[in-house]
């Protein structure tokens, strides 16, 4: 945050975009573009962690249930875009929905005519459902603090994951396959097809950059300060006229939206979703990644989460995945509790002969 004031505000974003493009070019040159698939998935996962950065790092509210919001987003999209609604086709409501392009006619793999919800409509439904669930869970849960809030959200995640496994609508333990591509606009389509791999990598990059920009704006405003105030001293924040309960609920909702948004994109990209996405283990991993990235450091959590998830998805850690993951997180958190980016930045500044900003500030004042 302090660093930003001296550096042109958009420079980090341009740098990040530059790195994203170079990575793709590097992979093209070395013939490893298939790796872009895992990188794209990691970017979508990073969006969930960005939401947690906001919720936990800035507003100080713990959630061990964000995997569930990711799953609610993904599953709503998956169910609506794969379920056959042709029974509705002849009703007036069905006709009306078809005219509004909410329901679209197409053929299934066997050539039968089916009627499914369009991806955009499914996306809106997913966000709507997420809103409903987040408010329903957040309203009572956010009256709790610390460990109690963590337990409540963990319980919520477990319930969602058990519901998904137990319901045939969501494909039980198999999850849902065959989720269609999501035509965003023009020729931009969220899909896992090999031909669209590069395009989809850039869609994910653009989404992540856009969200980073919006969140940075939010955090450097009266809203960001109010959230930080709630984190630091809730009583004092309330005494300053901040409706702390409402703010906590709003930021919980916002982080749930981010998780669900990631879930929807992820599901269309990979063409399916399974119940493990809602599991407690996933939720805990998101929290661990946020912690490893420095919790309140938006850039840190994004970079760390993308890198570690990528390594994990590429299978670098083999069957020891969780163990190596855990060790890495412990090392980062003990050696650099603010995330690896801040010490790295300080080191770079020293190397480049730039003076420490805080020293400079002391002199100015």
């Amino acid at each position: 945050m302090n660093l930003m004031r001296r550096i042109p505000p958009l420079l980090p974003f341009l740098l990040c975009a530059g790195v994203m493009v170079s990575l793709q070019q590097l992979m093209r040159a070395t013939g490893t573009q298939y790796c872009l698939t895992q990188l794209t998935m990691s970017l979508y996962y990073a969006i969930v962690v960005m939401g947690l950065c906001l919720l936990m790092g800035h507003a100080g509210q713990v959630s061990l249930g964000h995997g569930a919001f990711f799953a609610i987003g993904g599953y709503t999209s998956a169910v609506l875009t794969t379920h056959n609604f042709s029974a509705w086709g002849h009703s007036s409501l069905g006709g009306w929905l078809q005219q509004g392009r909410v329901l679209i006619a197409k053929e299934d793999v066997f050539g039968n005519a089916i009627l499914t919800v369009s991806p955009w409509a499914a996306f809106l439904a997913a966000m709507l459902l997420t809103t409903l669930v987040a408010l329903l869970i957040g309203y009572p849960a956010l009256r709790l603090r610390g460990h109690y809030l963590a337990m409540a959200t963990l319980g919520f995640g477990l319930i969602v994951s058990k519901l998904l496994v137990g319901s045939t609508l969501t494909g039980a333990a198999d999850g849902i396959n065959g989720v269609p591509p999501w035509p965003l606009a023009g020729s931009l389509t969220v899909t896992g097809k090999t031909a669209a791999r590069v395009q989809n990598y850039y869609i994910a990059c653009a989404l992540v950059l856009l969200l980073l920009l919006l969140l940075r704006n939010l955090l450097r405003s009266r809203i960001g300060r109010a959230l930080q105030a709630i984190h630091d001293r809730e009583t004092a924040a309330n005494a300053m006229g901040i409706n702390t309960a409402a703010y906590k609920l709003k930021v919980f909702l916002l982080s749930a939206w981010l998780a669900a948004l990631a879930g929807v994109f992820f599901t269309h990209f990979t063409g399916g979703i399974g119940p493990s996405e809602a599991g407690a283990f996933k939720s805990v991993r998101y929290v661990a990644l946020a912690a490893a990235g420095g919790m309140a450091n938006l850039w840190g959590v994004t970079v760390v989460s993308t890198a570690l998830n990528y390594a994990s998805l590429r299978g670098w850690f083999g069957s020891l995945d969780n163990a190596v993951f855990g060790i890495l997180l412990i090392v980062i958190i003990t050696l650099a509790p603010q995330g690896p980016l801040k010490p790295l930045g300080a080191w770079l500044r020293r190397i480049l002969g730039l003076r420490n900003l805080s020293e400079e500030r002391l002199e100015r004042s």
Partner: protein
Amino acid sequence: MNPALSSTPFASDGPSTASTAVQPLLEVENVRRSFGGLVAVDGVSFRVLPGQIKGLIGPNGAGKTTLFNLVCGLLRPDAGRIAFQGRPIEGWKPYRIARAGISRTFQNPSLFLQMNVLENVMVGRHRRARRGFLGCALRLPGQAAEERAIRQAAMQQLEVVGLAHLAMFPAGSLPFGQRRLVELARALATEPRMLLLDEPASGLNTKEKEDLADLIRQIRDRGITLLLVEHDMSLVMRLADEIVVLHHGARIAEGPPQVIQNDPTVINVYLGGNLDHATSSQES
């Protein structure tokens, strides 16, 4: 009920010093609050007139901070009435009371330690700005101007307390006395009608106390009414227009400093001399 209440000459007068012509800014009427078996505040009444500096004193455990927390909404009264500008506010959440125009400082300065000094004061401007989540995330037109206005107003308050040169310092790096002042600037930034100061002089040295007294007078001259809880008797006696004395949760005296200074009950309570009084208050 506390027998000490009926045994004092001043309590029976009621809030006599309050003129009937002016509407009081804050009215506290028969407010009572207990924690389990302990009655912390027992039927206390007093009024604060606009433009006054009202002092609230009493020995440790007299219920001063509890009463304070009742007024600013951190605690709910079990019974009684609290009105601000004629409007009942008892049972309101602290943020609503803050928006109604009552701001406060805490006994232990509670700054937002992960922010710098200026940002702390900028939080005080929260209720004076409007942009919500969407407006801030999208930087909608006017947001930048609003942000600048917040920064300027906060800077002004820092100048009032004389800490403008520390604006960019981390709040956690300041010594105790300066944290007090930052907190005061933050409370002033909300543009309150009334300011509640919880032991503003505790932990300050003599010089800092002098500066604080000047500052409090300045604040009053700007038209802000003050209610202060204070242990430092000489400071309260010099500053306050009127003083309420609490003992064991009950009001035992109220009046101008000269009267309070010579009040036998108050002297007894502070010097612990009168055996009768000590036994009677134990019975309560």
